[in-house]
């Protein structure tokens, strides 16, 4: 199922812009344009070096599912595409939306929505009403992924 990569329906909407219905108190508002979020969530560019460290940190969850161009890192997952070259396949805007809410690209995806707090069920007390990653962390990761070009 991991291979059903369908950049779907929404993308066809072209000019459609939706301001997120995110709860304003927890998440900074963002605007989806086409199939991406063109503006940085923090208003600043992220830091690619910090982004790399975050991607490799198990608590960010990325390499539980993904492998990537990290030859020295043990125990990478194979539930999801290798991250090598994602910066060539997707723009920063697209990468940002995928991290914020991957279900916009594939409604049946197993990739979590990292910047979403609504529509979740039975969330553990320690994690309730918090996104998996902060806006700063998303920007750092986007900056890093954008450097993964082939």
């Amino acid at each position: 199922m991991a291979n059903s990569l369908v950049p779907v329906v929404l993308l066809a909407a072209g000019t459609l812009a939706i301001t997120s219905m995110a709860r304003a108190d927890t998440l900074v508002p963002y605007t989806v344009v086409g199939d991406g979020i063109p503006q940085s969530l923090t208003g600043r560019p992220g830091d690619a070096a910090r982004g790399r460290a975050l991607v490799l940190d198990r608590t960010s969850t990325c390499i539980l599912c993904h492998s990537g161009p990290f030859p020295n890192v043990k125990f990478q997952g194979d539930l999801a595409p290798n991250l090598a070259g994602v910066g060539s396949r997707w723009s920063a805007s697209q990468l940002r939306l995928r991290l914020v809410d991957a279900s916009r690209f594939n409604p049946a995806t197993i990739m979590p929505s990292f910047y979403r707090v609504d529509g979740l069920v039975h969330v553990g007390q320690n994690w309730r009403d918090k996104p998996i990653l902060s806006a700063e962390q998303i920007e750092d990761i986007v900056a890093y992924l954008a450097t993964l070009r082939d």
């Binding site: 199922m1 991991a2 779907v8 329906v9 929404l10 066809a12 909407a13 072209g14 000019t15 459609l16 939706i18 198990r58 969850t61 390499i63 539980l64 599912c65 043990k74 125990f75 990478q76 997952g77 194979d78 539930l79 279900s103 916009r104 409604p107 049946a108 197993i110 979590p112 929505s113 979740l120 069920v121 039975h122 969330v123 553990g124 007390q125 320690n126 994690w127 918090k130 998996i132």
Partner: protein
């Protein structure tokens, strides 16, 4: 703008699409055992190397002890467990007519303690409860899982199935996402098995101890950052029931060894 709205509606409808999980065909069902390396398999296969056998031995001693005011041992009512407990763990959780709900093996042991031994309940994951349940389940080793056929269990199994299919937690994953759809893959370094309940209680190398099926289920729930149900909660028993019905026919391995 009207067109755009229609498209948004279409997108939302797609978003509400159910999980694509397909149940595992019977001939493709595999125990967690088959995903392990040769060392762990050897450890499970050899009773002198299998750490779980220590609990089984302690359980046998407890079977013959008289812990409560009624001055009854399990053996005083049930005799030789090798005969009387054969096949019992293979059909649990079972429907309890008096309570009107399913009880798992640990709960059955505690009901016996309360009703027939006048002894205090043992906590989940306490040494004695693990030892007794390991000893009892070991009497079914090699026997096929044969769920209790009581038709009153149907709604409980259905709720367990629903829970299994329900995306939950901060990571928004369902049990089925991993154990039906991705059991041939790896999560970080670990094989994602089919989540078959064949070996419980079992010795988990990561825990360095024996643990119950409920402990394992709570671990997976915490893994997806869901609120784990309390030990003994009806939801966990319903999940156990569903898992056992999903595994019908697979042999019991207790005490299994897992990474």
């Amino acid at each position: 703008m009207k067109r755009a709205c229609a498209m948004l509606v279409a997108a939302l409808l797609v978003a509400a699409a159910p999980l694509r999980a397909a149940e595992i065909p019977p001939d493709q069902r595999r125990s967690g055992y088959s995903f392990m390396g040769p060392d762990s398999k050897a450890m499970q296969d050899d009773d002198t190397a299998n750490p779980g056998m220590l609990w089984v031995l302690d359980g046998e001693a407890l079977w013959n002890k008289r812990p409560g005011a009624a001055n009854n041992a399990c053996a005083d009512c049930h005799g030789d467990a090798r005969a009387s407990m054969k096949g019992v763990a293979a059909r649990y959780p079972a429907f309890d007519k008096a309570l009107g709900r399913p009880v798992d093996l640990e709960q059955r042991i505690n009901l016996c303690r309360a009703q027939h031994q006048q002894a205090p309940a043992l906590d989940y994951e306490s040494h004695d409860l693990l030892a007794l349940s390991a000893f009892i389940a070991n009497q079914s080793r090699g026997m096929p899982i044969t769920p209790d056929g009581d038709s009153q269990l149907a709604p409980f199994i259905a709720r367990g199935h629903e829970l299994f299919m329900q995306r939950q937690g901060q990571l928004n994953l369902a049990c089925a996402n991993c154990h039906d759809d991705n059991w041939d893959k790896r999560l970080a370094g670990a094989a994602i098995t089919q989540g078959q309940p064949t070996g419980y209680p079992m010795y988990r190398l990561e825990w360095q101890t024996l643990g119950s099926l409920q402990r394992r289920l709570r671990g997976c729930m915490t893994g997806i950052r869901a609120q784990a149900y309390n030990y003994g909660a009806p939801e966990l028993v319903e999940l156990e029931l569903y898992l056992m019905s999903r595994a019908a026919g697979m042999p019991i391995e207790t005490p299994a060894v897992r990474p």
